[in-house]
Symmetry: D2
Subunit: 274 residues, 4 copies
């Protein structure tokens, strides 16, 4: 060791792993300074999500809004890549946790990250920028406007209930409403001169909720992860029960060769397509 530096100590390691999220000592567990035994049975699951991410408890109104957003995005069917890969993983002989992790790993910038990008856009408008200018700038570098439009839905069935809840939260003073107004300004802008409007989608709606609640943009993706994990788990679990091995994207009957359809497994044959 060099002379100039003090000897490193165990304290260095403890500091390296220091956290304000939780404290664990013998017979003591605190989450954000609150003993876990005081939380079990008295705080809701969305309430503990808020507490863990924000450090302070939510008000009942905040919790209600967060809960609605978490409920709204749990699933969008097995055609979404995150769900499909989790189902496929569940047939490959890995743990259920590995199947869920596989799905979550796909919620990247394009799949689950649109909410994060949409919140950045709405926050800029909410802070005073003109919607036309912000949207124009976004379009200059991207074909897509995050949080708006959907290839399935002309009106996303999740839009009205979610925005309706935000409206009521504005009315009762729970939230301020600037992100909601920003989202509507963008919708109007996109509808202009079109037969069919380009509706706000689920990424956009939850960006409104999380923005109103004061979450930073990256947590729009983080909260989407917690929500979609429910659907990922439910699908992986359903797949587990169907007994397939090595499920690929295409059923054996349409694999590119006739043999794929004709061949009957022999007893003792391992069909793993390595």
């Amino acid at each position: 060791m060099s002379r100039e530096n003090p000897e490193p100590t165990v304290r260095d390691v403890a500091d390296w792993w220091a956290t304000s999220v939780s404290r664990v000592e013998p017979n003591l567990i605190e989450l954000r300074g609150r003993p876990v035994q005081d939380l079990i049975g008295s705080i809701s699951f969305p309430g503990v999500i808020w507490l863990m991410l924000r450090g302070e408890p939510a008000t009942p109104g905040q919790e209600r809004l967060l809960e609605a957003a978490l409920v709204s995005s749990v699933d969008h069917g097995p055609h979404a890549p995150s769900i499909a890969v989790a189902r496929m993983a569940a047939t490959c002989g890995v743990g259920l946790n590995n199947a869920v992790a596989t799905g979550v790993n796909l919620l990247g910038d394009v799949h689950g990250g649109a909410g994060e990008q949409c919140m950045r856009m709405l926050s800029e408008i909410a802070a005073g920028a003109a919607a036309a200018e912000v949207v124009g700038r976004w379009r200059a570098h991207s074909k897509y406007l995050p949080g708006f439009g959907h290839r399935f839905h002309t009106v996303d069935p999740r839009r009205d209930p979610l925005l309706g809840l935000v409206e009521r939260a504005v009315a009762d003073g729970t939230v301020e409403g600037a992100h909601l107004r920003a989202a509507r300004a963008v919708e109007e802008l996109l509808a202009d001169g079109r037969d069919r409007p380009v509706p706000i989608n689920i990424d956009g709606c939850t960006a409104v909720v999380y923005g109103e609640l004061g979450f930073p943009p990256p947590l729009a993706r983080g909260l989407f992860v917690l929500s979609r994990s429910v659907g990922i788990l439910a699908h992986a679990w359903e797949e587990t029960g169907q007994g397939r091995r090595n499920k690929g994207p295409m059923p054996p009957s349409i694999l590119p060769t006739p043999l794929g359809r004709e061949q009957i497994p022999w007893p003792g044959e391992d069909p793993a397509p390595s």
Copy 2:
């Protein structure tokens, strides 16, 4: 294509991806047969977790118990490998979803899977087998009894509130109580002849809850994944804010070489330790 087999059709592909978890069509999203717009704002987050996994809604009593279990296991500090790896991932330039997936990927047979194993053991006792015989059989092939004992806690602070809630649920008829009795039988058996009892731990307590609620054993792990994802996300997010790059297990000050401690980064230097 062969003569004996009908031509494969698009239907084959649709069937291959068929699911009873959700239905998605233009302007329609159903979760377990329920339109999503009817759920947003009226069902709780634990309620939708139950619905997605079980196919039917929970009763209020079932939901309360599930919620308490989900709250109880969100975090156990950064010394747990699942949390530590998520914090490390957050410093490596990957998405927040990738950091969460990294943590969830570690909730395997040993880390988050003890609940699953414990539920199998308790279910056997609940179904009538003698505790001594089941525990004895388990010990014959393993050094550890899943769900019992903890290296930190002599009494896990999560034990009493969770088992207390199960007791009340037995009293009001929400659950039957056989898993709770099985857990107590094992605790008594383990206390016999010891100065200090070997307490049931969080994996065991949640196994009691999920067993009483009728979840199959693999979902003890699945539900633990949903719960612990909250702590994983909170820790990864906190780490993101600390600006470290390539965080390893040991702080630079105690890396095995003096240089690790002396060297001051030059402007323009990339400290990535590849």
Copy 3:
């Protein structure tokens, strides 16, 4: 701190992370005791794989056999789940490393793990057990015999070249031949009374190679991971170049609704199917 125990020191942490795989100090990197600068340009890539896993360098004959096995299993098309999920991940806005990790995560007990199981079976026969007895025991608890049979191939094109190389390695004394003889005994056993033989597949062939080379069974899976990572990377990279976003298992044209086919993306629409 308690009296009975010495104060923990930084040494505890260093020991916790001690390894014999590599040594890294300022301006020094050793792999298994060999300075990295002596290896670069003089050892082959399979040679360094052997060195890292075994601790000692391979002979040229061992290296040749290992290399052939690594080459043989790099890819089996996008219908294999590991390849498919990596391609899907590549369209979701995550890093190329995350796409590869997603594919590798699926090489579990059923997908890439058959080689490990097959090696256990062959090792037992190689050690003197009767093939009929070992195969019979395996069949009693599983529908599949790991390493034998394939749903595509009646004769796997990788079989003859790989087993031929093992034969030559037996002839020149590089390996002993017991695993090769065991594999042939199983093939004969399975052919008995059938019109078409149940051929050894790639998992079985590489199990023969790795078994002859003295690798422990879990490394049959480990080496398969290194090999298949090449195909996973090549496919993920090809997909990256095709510009799809959120690629699911089914093309939009056969999604369950007509809207999926009719709808033309508006400018500004984000088609992400969250």
Copy 4:
């Protein structure tokens, strides 16, 4: 289905999964148009990596250079997060493939992605831009210059052998040398006015090799993934043999509580720190 659109067919699905990487039909496997049986035993492992990524075989000189780069970056000790998390995963009861995937998942923009960024910078200089201008521009938006400097090494022991091999490849006409000259120009620029030079590191050296060989920048990360997977596997495998359960970043002896050090596991106790 709508009138305007043709009925979707099975062909749509096949096209959706079409690839030029490999072709798999009954008893036929082709990698980039070459029958796999012609490759086994005749192509090297780096050779098949090149073939799969580039579509054409490498020349012997190209293969030698690629092999040296792959060898050079297999490991940098357990203090690198990718290695550490794989070792931790190996103690959590998941498959060896899951442990490797966990490590690979961390090779993101900051950890393994510096080579990709460095190659972009060097390619710009190689194409004619002034080094000072490119470096200046990079510094304006980042504290770090990718591929240069190291917190351990004043001279990375991998630098001289790798750059020496590139020099020889320039001399014999295998590569052109523009990336090598660019890297040296940056080194000179960084040395100017400093006591100690800021040396090129392994990410920079391999960026030179891969750039000279004509790989696109994202494959600098892709090839690093293949190389570092070897170290990740070797470390995960070593850890597997040490019998730890739930290995966290800190040894139990320095966990924040005395109990962590005193407590002796009871028979039957599960030490899982959930």
